[in-house]
Symmetry: C2
Subunit: 464 residues, 2 copies
C-alpha cells in the first residue's frame, strides 16, 4: 500500500488558492487557520487581491518563495486545472481540492475529474477531492474547513466521509456527543485519493483505534475489499453505506457522482471483511463511541441491569433478535442480591432493580458473574426524585452506587449505558457512569453495540 503524505494531516506550511475577502470557504479557512496558530506558515493566493486578513496575497502559487507542504484549493471550477499545474510545478505533494461541479454534475464534469486524476498520478502528487472539505485534525488543531475546532476534543476515532457537508456537521455535532476524533476526512468525488487510501491511512495511524466510514459507493470494489479486510484485521472498522435503494442510488449519483452498486453485494463484502455495518447515522456514531472506549465482548451472554422494567424488556427484545442471550444469573449472584433485595424484586436477568437503591450492587454483581460477557446498564429515575434527594443533600450514589468506581475495579467486560430523561439527568448520568460505560441513544443500539463488540471479537479471534 502507498501511504498518504503526512503533509495532509500535519502540514508545516499551507497555501490557500482562492483566498478571498468576500466570505465563503476562501475567507473562512484563512481566518480559522490564523486563529489556530498557522499565520506564520500560511500563504494566500488570489490574482485580484493584495492583502487578506493582514497577510500578503500572491498572484500564483509559483510566486511563493518558500517550501509548501499542502495546498487547499477553493478556486472556481474553470481555474482548477491551472492551479493544480502550479501545485505540481511547486512540488507540492498534498492537495485538498474543495471546488465542486465535477462528476456529480454530469459527463463534462466527469471528464474534467478524470483529467485531474491523471494530472495527480503524472506529478506524483496526491489530491483529496474535488467536491469535499478535506480534513479536520483536532490533535494538531488543523482543519481545511471552517469548524469550531476549539470545541472538538482530540480522540481516537478516525472518520472517513464521502461528503463535505456531512464531515462538517459531524464536526459540529461531535462535542455534544462525546465523540472524539483522531482525524475526520471528507474525500468527495475521489479524483485521486479514495476510501481505500484512507482506510490504509487510518489502519496505520497510531492515534486511531476505531475507523468509521460513511460511504455512498466504493471507487474500486476489489481494492476496497482488500483494504477493508486488512484494516479490520488491525482495528474495528464501522461502515454506514447509503444509496441502498434505487431512489437512494440516483440521489447519491447526483451528490458525489457515486456508483453505489448492489446493496446485497456490499452486505456480503463488508461481512466477509470483518467490517461492522451500521444501519443509521446515529447508530454509526454510537458504535464508534462504544468501540473507542470499550473492551471487546468474549461471548454472546449478556446481562441487563435496569431500574425500568419496560426499557429492560426493549433491550432484551433487541438483544434476542441479534442472537445474544440473557443467561440465568449464577446462583452466587442471585444469593448475594437476594439478601439485600426487597420482597417485590425479581432477582433474574434482565435484573429490574426498580427504585431499590441496589443499582450499583446489581451492576457489580452482573460484571462479576462468570456467566455474563457484557452488560447493558439502564439507570432511570424520575428526576423529581433525584432532584429532591439532591436538594436534601443526598448524593445520587445512594441509588446508583458508585458506577465509575465499580467500573475501575471491573474493567474487562463491556458496559453500555442507555437512559431517558431531562437534559439535567443526561448530564448527571454522563458524569456518574463516565465514558467507560458508554452512553448510547436507544435500547436497540445498546444491544447492537454489544453484538458488534462480540462479532468483532470473533473475527479477530478467527484471524489469530
Amino acid at each position: 500500500m502507498n501511504q498518504l503524505p503526512r503533509e495532509f494531516f500535519q502540514p508545516r506550511s499551507i497555501v490557500i488558492a482562492g483566498a478571498s475577502k468576500k466570505g465563503g470557504f476562501g475567507s473562512g479557512i484563512p481566518k480559522l487557520l490564523k486563529r489556530s496558530g498557522y499565520a506564520d506558515r500560511l500563504y494566500l493566493v488570489n490574482p485580484r487581491e493584495r492583502e487578506i486578513e493582514g497577510l500578503q496575497v500572491y498572484k500564483r502559487i509559483t510566486d511563493i518563495d518558500a517550501e509548501i507542504d499542502l495546498a487547499i484549493v477553493v478556486v472556481p471550477r474553470d481555474h482548477v486545472k491551472g492551479v493544480l499545474e502550479d501545485c505540481a510545478a511547486k512540488n507540492i505533494r498534498a492537495v485538498i481540492l474543495e471546488t465542486a461541479g465535477f462528476s456529480e454534475t454530469g459527463p463534462e464534469g466527469a471528464r474534467l475529474e478524470r483529467e485531474i486524476g491523471t494530472l495527480a498520478r503524472n506529478a506524483g502528487m496526491r489530491i483529496i477531492g474535488p467536491n469535499c472539505v478535506g480534513l479536520i485534525n483536532p490533535h494538531d488543531r488543523f482543519a481545511s474547513t471552517e469548524v469550531a475546532l476549539e470545541e472538538m476534543e482530540p480522540g481516537n476515532i478516525g472518520v472517513i466521509a464521502q461528503s463535505g457537508v456531512f464531515g462538517n456537521i459531524v464536526a459540529d455535532w461531535a462535542p455534544s456527543q462525546d465523540l472524539n476524533v483522531s482525524s475526520l476526512v471528507t474525500i468527495g468525488n475521489r479524483a485521486d485519493v479514495d476510501e481505500t487510501d484512507m482506510l490504509y491511512h487510518f489502519a496505520a495511524d497510531e492515534r486511531t483505534d476505531v475507523i468509521v466510514l460513511y460511504l455512498e459507493g466504493a471507487k474500486d470494489g476489489e481494492r476496497f475489499r482488500r483494504a477493508a479486510r486488512e484494516a479490520a484485521a488491525r482495528k474495528p472498522v464501522l461502515v454506514y453505506k447509503s444509496g441502498r435503494t434505487e431512489a437512494g442510488k440516483r440521489a447519491a449519483a447526483s451528490h458525489t457522482g457515486s456508483m453505489t452498486g448492489e446493496d446485497g453485494l456490499y452486505d456480503g463484502l463488508l461481512r466477509q471483511s470483518g467490517v461492522i455495518r451500521a444501519s443509521s447515522f446515529q447508530e454509526l456514531f454510537d458504535l464508534a463511541r462504544v468501540f473507542a472506549r470499550q473492551p471487546l465482548m468474549k461471548g454472546s451472554d449478556i446481562g441487563v441491569v435496569t431500574s425500568s422494567g419496560s426499557l429492560g424488556v426493549m433491550a432484551t427484545d433487541a438483544a434476542f433478535q441479534l442472537g445474544l442471550h440473557l443467561p440465568e444469573l449464577s446462583s452466587a449472584t442471585i444469593d448475594a442480591l437476594r439478601e439485600e433485595a426487597p420482597p417485590w424484586m425479581n432477582v433474574k436477568n434482565p435484573l429490574d432493580l426498580g427504585p431499590s437503591h441496589l443499582f450499583g450492587a446489581g451492576l457489580e454483581a452482573a460484571l462479576r458473574d462468570p456467566r455474563i460477557n457484557g452488560v447493558i446498564a439502564i439507570p432511570v429515575i424520575p428526576y423529581a426524585i433525584i432532584d429532591s434527594l439532591m436538594k436534601a443533600g443526598v448524593a445520587p450514589e445512594l441509588i446508583f452506587g458508585d458506577p465509575e468506581q465499580i467500573r475501575k475495579t471491573l474493567p474487562d467486560k463491556p458496559v453500555v449505558t442507555y437512559t431517558v430523561g431531562s437534559s439535567s439527568w443526561l448530564s448527571l448520568i454522563r458524569k456518574m457512569f463516565g465514558p467507560h460505560m458508554t452512553l448510547v441513544s436507544s435500547a436497540e443500539t445498546a444491544s447492537k453495540a454489544l453484538w458488534a463488540l462480540h462479532r468483532y471479537h470473533l473475527f479477530r479471534a478467527a484471524g489469530e
Copy 2:
C-alpha cells in the same frame, strides 16, 4: 363502552392511603399535590401518624367526613385489600392502586390481584393498577406521582403506558422533546382498568388528538382489537409493543405480569385496526409529535429538501424502502428554481441545495409542487458559518429563508424536519422551523413519519 369516571382525571377531592413522613411515594405525592394547589381537598391516611405536611392525618378512610372523588393507595401489599374495602364503603368511584408485588411476582400475587378485580366489580368502583403510578394531567396540574409538573406543557397527546417507571421517565423527558401530553396514564397490572378502557377514554377525550400506547401484552385480545379499531377510526393510535421475542416475553412477565402473546398476531391485529406500530421508544414519541401537529398526507409522493446531500440520500433510502416515492419535480418548479440556482446545483428530487441560500425557496417550491404530497426538510450547515454570519449581524434567514412564514402560507401538506448539529444549532432550528414542521430524530424516522401520515390517511379514507 363503559366510560371511566372523570374523577380519575379531574378529582375534586383526593385521599392518599399510605401517606408518610419517611420518603418514597407516600411522602412525595402529598408534597406535589399541595404544591399544585390541592391542599384544601387533600386527605391523608396513615394509622400511625397525626400530621404530615401540615395536614391532619386520618387513621382510616372511613373516618373522613367529606366526599372523596379519588383514592391514591400506596400502602404495603398486605394492607391493600382492607384499604380497598374502606374505599368501597366510602363510595369512592376511582382508585389508583400503586402498590407493587402482585401478578408480576408469581401465583400468590396473581391470586390477590384477581381478588382486587372482583372487589372492584362488586363495588362498582374502578381501579387503576396495581403496580403503577396512575396518571399525570398537566392541563389541570394533577398527578398521582412525583414529577416536575411545572415543566410539562399541556398538549394533545394521550399516553397510555403499562409501566409506572416508563410513565415517569416519559414525563421527565417530555419537556426537552416538545412532547405535550393531554394526560399520561400508567395502568400497571390491570386488575380492573386496562388498555382497552383507556383507549376508549382517550378516543372520547376532547383534549386528545393522538393516542400513544406502550403495551407489553393486551389483557383481552378481542376487546382490545375492537377498541383499537374504534379509537383509530376517530384519532391516530400509535403503539409500541414490547415482549416481541421469547426473551422479551419472559422479561415482560416478570415486570407487569403480562402474557405478551405472539408478535405476528399483534402485527396483524394492529395493522387491520388502522393502528400505527412504532419500532422503538424514540420512534413512538417522534411519531406522536408529528401526528400532534401535522396534517395527514394524501398521497405517497414526497419531496426531500436538504442542504446535505448525504442526509438527503439517507432519507431517500428510508422513504423508498417504506414504499414512498420521490417523483420528478414539476417543470414549473424546476424552471423557477433553475433561475436562481448556482451552476453546481442539481435541481431534482431530492433537492440538494447545499450552501446556496436557496433553502427557503426550495422548501416553498416543494410545498407548492402539485406532484408532492409531503416534505422532509433537512436544514444543516456548519455552525461555525451560521455563528460568524450571526456575529456579523446577518440573520440565519439569509440562508434558510423564513420557513415559519412559508409554512403559514402553505399549511396543507405535512413537513417533518431532521437536522444534526450542536445544541445551539438544534435550538435555532426548533425556533426557525417551529412546531408545525416537526423535528424528528433521524432521517429514517422522518420517512417513517410521512409514511405513517399517509397510511393513516388511507385508513380513514377507506372508512368514510
